[in-house]
């Protein structure tokens, strides 16, 4: 179970997150909605350990992982623009997490084949990353994140750059895949339809802030001085 407790992040004078609370139960996928600039990606980076919060804690099953470096958290992250390693082929991308964990080559090969089959890209091991279409690259990114068996999957606008038809088809597939793997997930998007297709429960960024400060009438950015300008 993931618990984000009272997390705040500040960039210079601007509070991007302030007192954010979020709980994700095992095997539950939470959809997180918000316009761009609302701090969704920042929250994912805090959960993944890529960004140290200015205040607050991240817990997994009760254990405080706030100080745990990213590579020991076993939280997978799928980026909006895939971030596939351009100098490695599809197989080496998917097998990366297992290779750095020092798993034997035969095991890595088997797991890569298994995951590529899972995302519908059987036999793609030796394809160059640059030759993939947008949808294929997204599936490879998903397979890569799942390969090391993370305990939580973070999805940052995973279907953002795709055209409508492919987007809808992949959203359904993604939902089925997450349920098949049986993994907890946080799915960030600005598209309510996508969130409802993929997630078990949909929250907005305002929900996360409001929950922390139910009585706060001053708005979320006390130091920016523009309390009346942010409408929910």
């Amino acid at each position: 179970m993931l618990a984000v407790e009272d997390v705040s992040v500040r960039f210079g004078p601007r509070w991007v997150l302030q007192g954010v609370e979020l709980v994700v139960r095992s095997n539950e996928v939470v959809g997180l909605l918000g316009p761009s600039g609302s701090g969704k990606s920042t929250l994912l980076r805090v959960i993944a350990g890529l960004l140290p919060p200015d205040a607050g804690r991240v817990r997994w099953d009760g254990e405080d992982v706030t100080q745990l470096p990213t590579h020991r958290r076993r939280f997978g992250l799928v980026f909006q623009d895939h971030q596939l390693f351009p100098h490695r082929d599809v197989g080496a991308n998917v097998g990366f997490g297992l290779a750095v964990a020092g798993r034997p080559k035969a095991e890595v090969r088997a797991r890569v084949a298994e995951l590529l089959e899972l995302v519908g890209l059987k036999g793609f091991e030796h394809r160059a990353v640059g030759s993939l279409s947008g949808g294929e690259a997204q599936r490879v990114a998903l397979a890569r994140a799942l390969a090391p068996r993370p305990r939580l999957l973070l999805l940052d606008e995973p279907l953002g750059a795709l055209d409508r038809e492919l987007h809808d088809r992949l959203a359904v597939e993604l939902r089925a895949l997450l349920k098949q793997v049986g993994i907890a997930g946080v799915h960030v998007t600005h598209d309510r339809g996508e969130a409802e297709m993929v997630a078990d429960r949909v929250l907005t960024m305002d929900d996360l802030h409001a929950r922390a400060r139910p009585s706060s009438g001053n708005g979320r950015f006390p130091e920016s001085g523009g309390s009346g300008t942010t409408s929910p």
Binding site: G12, R45, A48, G49, L50, L51, P52, P69, T70, H71, R72, R73, R74, F75, G76, L77, F79, D81, Q83, F85, P86, H87, F96, G97, A99, V100, A101, G130, R144, A145, A147, P148, P150, L154
Partner: protein, 531 residues
């Protein structure tokens, strides 16, 4: 731009003739003489020369490895973090690279304790100092554009920071690292000034040996064979390098706006602070030791060396002066002025010819870049062995020195001018023409204003290059025509206390003049040094 064919041909013929006479012919002469079977056999079998070749190779390899190792961390810090004074640090890092090699050599002589004098360690340290900017700037430019989320992706997949560096970052940086290493290897393989000053008689590279054989031992055939082998090695390296660049092309999605961020954690702030402090110290300490050295007088400090600059002085054998420092300053400035005019006229014409012609432009461009990859010693030696017969009997004439400087400087002028000319929107010229301007008028109104700034920048480069040129000048200098680097070299070659302080004083003057020229260029170009 449409030019009359006669103008276009003239623009191309002038630089081609100049380079054919003063670069092409000398190089061909070296090859012709070096191809002699006996000379090559002698070079390949002589154990002394073989050890020179071996030393040249391994000191260049060691210098390159050390420079790359030392440059990666500063490249990372300057590429990935935004902090106050970053642009200044970046400019400061570049200072050693634009300084003449004799100034760097003299600074390390002043810095290092006598126990390190004439050691390999001193040579390697000076080479790292000189070339650090190549690694920091080349690798930093790519690093700044590398998407940090690739590294983040690796970390979320369970890779430790070390694994991320080894498996993701370094492989992606490889093209820049190979490029920086190749340039550093080329510079240190053909190193002359640093070795002459810091190497002493025991550490001799091919360049220094060619010079010694020519000017001290008068063994021209052996020198030609060595120069020929050196030319082969350098050409081979360049060919391999351009091939490697093409093979390595990985389609990276770069972020041209850069990825620098403000340091967030205390660890990052410490890293940035420590790196910047170390960089500033590394750049500044040798140069300040040079200045301090010029004021050293016996056990204390004084102005004796500076006062002696004006006098006809320097303690040589039989009380003959080894150098006339003030005269050297004047000679250097005179030669630099002539070389600058030559380089600007020839380089400017060449850039126009390349920019305005469609056919052959590529070939002309490549041909003009050749002197860039050739060592200065090759240029000087080639001129020495060719300019001794009609119609170009310039032996013993001082004009060969500014001509050699111009040969070295022309590629830099072309590189400064060409991008500006190419950046002119052709529709501007069309607009001027539709408003009734004749072709000559169009050129004056549209091209010339662009050209003027670039030519002044190119002139600054040419001036700085000529002031510090040491390799070619060493072959061509005559009594009474000492430039500053030559005078510094002579003074350091006969180290009495006063000679040493005088050399440091003269090197300080050379450093200030060079930096003034480079700074003026930077001002004119108006672009601050950001990645």
């Amino acid at each position: 731009m449409r030019l009359a064919p006669a103008v276009r041909i003239a623009l191309a013929v002038v630089p081609l003739t100049f380079l054919a006479c003063f670069f092409g012919w000398p190089v061909v002469a070296i090859i012709a003489r070096g191809l002699s079977v006996d000379a090559v056999r002698e070079v390949l079998t002589d154990p002394g020369l073989r050890s020179v070749a071996w030393f040249t190779l391994w000191q260049a390899a060691a210098s390159t490895l050390l420079t790359v190792a030392a440059g990666l961390l500063p490249a990372y810090v300057l590429a990935r973090f935004r902090f106050p004074g970053r642009a200044i640090v970046l400019a400061l890092v570049t200072v050693p690279f634009v300084l003449p090699t004799v100034v760097v050599g003299a600074a390390f002589l002043a810095l290092l304790p006598p126990s390190l004098d004439q050691t390999v360690a001193a040579i390697l340290a000076a080479h790292v100092y000189f070339n650090l900017a190549v690694v920091i700037r080349t690798v930093g430019t790519l690093w700044a554009q590398l998407d940090p989320r690739l590294e983040e992706a690796a970390r979320t997949l369970g890779a430790s920071p070390l694994q991320v560096m080894w498996r993701v970052t370094l492989p992606l940086l490889r093209p820049a690292i190979v490029a920086a290493a190749s340039i550093t290897f080329l510079f240190t393989f053909t190193s002359f000034g640093v070795i002459r000053i810091l190497g002493g008689p025991r550490h001799v590279t091919l360049e220094v040996e060619i010079w010694r054989l020519t000017t001290q031992a008068f063994q021209l055939p052996t020198a030609a064979a060595l120069a020929f082998l050196q030319l082969l090695a350098v050409t081979g390296l360049m060919v391999w390098w351009s091939g490697a660049q093409q093979r390595q092309a990985v389609a990276l999605r770069l972020r041209p706006r850069g990825t620098a961020a403000v340091p967030r954690t205390s660890g990052q702030r410490f890293l940035v602070g420590a790196t910047v402090a170390a960089l500033v110290a590394v750049v500044a300490v040798p140069l300040s030791r040079l200045v301090v050295g010029s004021f050293t007088q016996g056990d204390g400090y004084g102005f004796a060396a500076w006062r002696a600059l004006a006098a006809d002085s320097g303690d040589g054998p039989a009380n003959r002066p080894v150098a006339d420092p003030l005269d050297a300053v004047i000679t250097s400035l005179r030669f630099a002025a002539i070389a600058t005019v030559l380089a600007v006229v020839i380089g400017g014409a060449a850039a126009c010819a390349i920019a305005y012609s469609r056919r052959g432009a590529h070939l002309l461009d490549a041909g003009l870049m050749l002197p860039l990859g050739t060592s200065a010693v090759t240029v000087g030696f080639g001129l020495l062995i060719t300019m001794d017969r009609r119609p170009l009997d310039l032996r013993g004439s001082w004009v060969l020195i500014p001509i050699a400087h111009a040969v070295v400087a022309v590629p830099f002028v072309v590189r400064a001018v060409l991008p500006n000319l190419r950046s002119i929107d052709p529709r501007l010229r069309d607009a001027a023409a539709t408003l009734g301007a004749a072709p000559g008028r169009v050129w004056r109104e549209i091209d010339l204003p662009f050209l003027r700034r670039a030519l002044v920048a190119g002139a600054g480069f040419a001036f700085a290059i000529s002031l510090g040129e040491f390799g070619a000048t060493s072959f061509l200098t005559r009594v009474g025509d000492q430039t500053m680097p030559i005078a510094i070299g002579r003074l350091l070659g006969r180290p009495s206390a006063l000679n040493l302080s005088q050399a440091y004083a003269l090197a300080t003057v050379l450093m200030v003049l060079t930096l003034a020229a480079v700074l003026a260029v930077d001002r004119l170009r108006g672009e601050s040094s950001t990645f």
